[in-house]
């Protein structure tokens, strides 16, 4: 059984998670929306409006973060824009809805988006390209705006009053936005998406009673529709939706994705009762944006330990950021997260060494960097054999080492060995993978090109 499981492809692994089967390891899905652009130096508004930049950025996510599953676009304003909401754009965040066309009318729209509307052509082209480029090994997510959140984009905050003042109108509006979600889901499935994520952050702001009264029926219909089309579904929510988890389960998605406001252990007790996969929930701000690489690894390890103590094979869990990653999340933190999911034992060693406080720095003797015969490249990796980003960093150094044919020296330090953790401390290396030249950190997480690395070496020789 274990052997069959370990032969699963990355995509197959994610599908196994969504089929609620036991897995050799937990799948990893980085929600890289606008953050994808940051990997290639593109702003959020560029990556959400320029097809080439979007695809280039998404491929970089696939390259650097080696996901089992990956969303193609993370923007909850695509449908709203088509249906008449004005957007305000930002350089480092998704756009915001600025106007609500139904704010002062009880009109029920009927128009459904066409494939040629708004930014759908860009999204559909990007989906087709990603399917061709990485779709054989990576499961791809199409994200549709959830019916309640889309209704709030159209109606504004009046939607909350409608629950008391105009309940029938609200039911009609949710039925309409559900039709929109079905139509857009169809387009995304035609473009090759494997999973449709229904992203409805606003669900956390209403009571289970209101959820059941206004949303249950339409959401159930939407997930059933996706299933009939032969695809998997996921129900993304943000905020403290603790009280709604059970009602969400009863709409029968294949997966529910939550953020750090929800206790994963408590939520999993509920989702397991319905045999629904739970996904989440690395904290976006405290951990991913402002935490260290070790903080992120520790969060993942603690989550795994809490969910599957002992040698229990994982089931019904996918690890992801709590929601769309902030634009400026350090690459190191995402790499560390991925490594902790893929190689928890290696990560455990690193975190334990960090926490022990007993690192013997005296066991490490450093070269006299001032007196080196040749420039020295020191490559610090989590483990280049198992961590893709570390492998790319090592490859970058090796290529230049070979190209310069004997005029530089190179050494790799994997932190799987405690003495190398001590060396990392002594050298002041904060994040992995990193390349140091003559004792100075020159490249951290972002893999340099041959030219950049050679220039840095030349600079060191001066």
């Amino acid at each position: 059984m274990k052997n069959n499981l370990s032969n699963l492809s990355k995509k197959g692994l994610l599908f196994a998670a969504l089929r609620h089967e036991e897995m050799p390891r937990i799948p990893w899905v980085p929600f890289a929306g606008v953050h994808a652009g940051s990997l290639k130096g593109y702003k959020a508004d560029q990556v959400l409006t320029d097809k080439e930049k979007l695809i280039e950025s998404l491929l970089e996510v696939n390259h650097q973060y080696d996901p089992d599953g990956q969303p193609v676009v993370f923007d909850l304003q695509i449908e709203a824009e088509i249906l008449g909401c004005d957007l305000v754009w930002a350089e480092n965040a998704p756009p915001s809805v600025a106007t609500h066309p139904l704010a002062s009318t009880l009109e029920l729209p009927t128009r459904l988006p066409e494939k040629t509307d708004g930014r759908l052509p860009l999204v559909l082209d990007a989906m087709a390209s990603m399917k061709t480029e990485v779709g054989s090994h990576t499961a791809l997510y199409g994200l549709v705006t959830g019916p309640f959140t889309l209704a709030s984009h159209l109606r504004g905050t009046e939607i909350f009053m409608d629950m008391f003042d105009h309940p029938e109108y609200l039911r009609g509006l949710i039925a309409y936005t559900t039709r929109v979600a079905k139509r857009v889901s169809e387009y995304y499935l035609d473009a090759g998406m494997d999973i449709i994520a229904v992203v409805d952050p606003l669900v956390s702001q209403i009571s289970p009673k209101h959820f059941r009264n206004f949303l249950s029926e339409d959401f159930t219909g939407l997930f059933s529709f996706i299933r009939e089309k032969g695809a998997f579904s996921s129900f993304f929510v943000c905020g403290d939706a603790t009280k709604n988890v059970e009602a969400m389960c009863q709409t029968a998605p294949d997966c529910i994705a939550v953020d750090e406001n929800i206790d994963m252990l408590a939520a999993k007790q509920i989702t397991d009762q319905y045999d629904i996969t739970l996904e989440g929930n690395i904290p976006l701000t405290t951990c991913m944006l402002f935490g260290t690489q070790q903080d992120n690894m520790k969060y993942v390890l603690d989550l795994i330990d809490a969910m599957f103590p002992g040698d229990v094979l994982p089931k019904n869990l996918i690890i992801s950021p709590g929601c769309d990653m902030p634009y400026d999340v350090p690459v190191d933190n995402v790499v560390g997260t991925m490594q902790a999911i893929r190689e928890p034992e290696t990560a455990r060693l690193m975190v334990a060494n960090y926490q022990s406080g007993e690192i013997d720095l005296d066991q490490v003797s450093l070269p006299n960097y001032e007196q080196l015969a040749k420039p020295l490249m020191e490559v610090f990796t989590l483990d280049s054999a198992s961590c893709p980003a570390c492998g790319y960093m090592l490859n970058a150094a090796t290529r230049v080492f070979t190209e310069l044919a004997g005029s530089v020296d190179m050494v790799e330090y994997k932190i799987t060995e405690p003495k190398n953790v001590a060396r990392m401390h002594k050298m002041g290396v904060k994040n992995l993978p990193s390349i140091l030249i003559n004792g100075q950190v020159k490249f951290s997480s972002i893999i340099p090109s041959n030219r950049e690395l050679i220039d840095a070496l030349k600079e060191a020789i001066k």
């Binding site: 915001s96 905050t157 009053m161 634009y327």
Partner: protein
Amino acid sequence: MSATIQEIYTGVVEGDRDQVVEAVQQALNEGDSAETILKQGMMAAMGEVGRLFEEGEYFVPELLVAARAMQGGMDILRPLLVAEDVEPVGKIVIGTVKGDLHDIGKNLVSMMMQGAGFEVTDLGTDVAPEKFVDAVKTSGANLVAMSALLTTTMANMPATIAAFDQAGIRDKVKIMIGGAPVTDQFAQKIGADGYAPDANQAARLALSLIA
């Protein structure tokens, strides 16, 4: 508590504006002062609404209709409170920071502040640092509350605090912050006076900051 004040209280908690308006008028006819109606009826009710919200019994819609019911009563009481010389417990300027258009949370805080007896100047969304400063100068507020929903607009919180420093009035106001990505740690880091994770705790924090 008289039966009529109890009716006002229940009307606010249950979000029934018509009931509140009718009962406020009746309480006035029965000789209750505007201050009594405000404090024993409406403010007490909003305290209960806040408690229910904090405990996860009430959600955004329940809070909004409760606040609307209170507003119905306040429309009648406001001129009478002025005539009775009833002072607000404090004056607060509130808004979302520059670049941030997300106002649901800010609106909830604003409502809970009014429910706690504050005079609120709501600057709305996307508020520039200088606008916060000007509003404090104009209104004489002793508190500023700002929110951000985005990790990217959080950066405008320290900029707003810096604007108060530059204007030389930082020591005249207490500044509190909130919003989904904001933490207590962040508040301390940027030199804010406090952080609250939800609307009810924001009202409690505001009261403690001016105590």
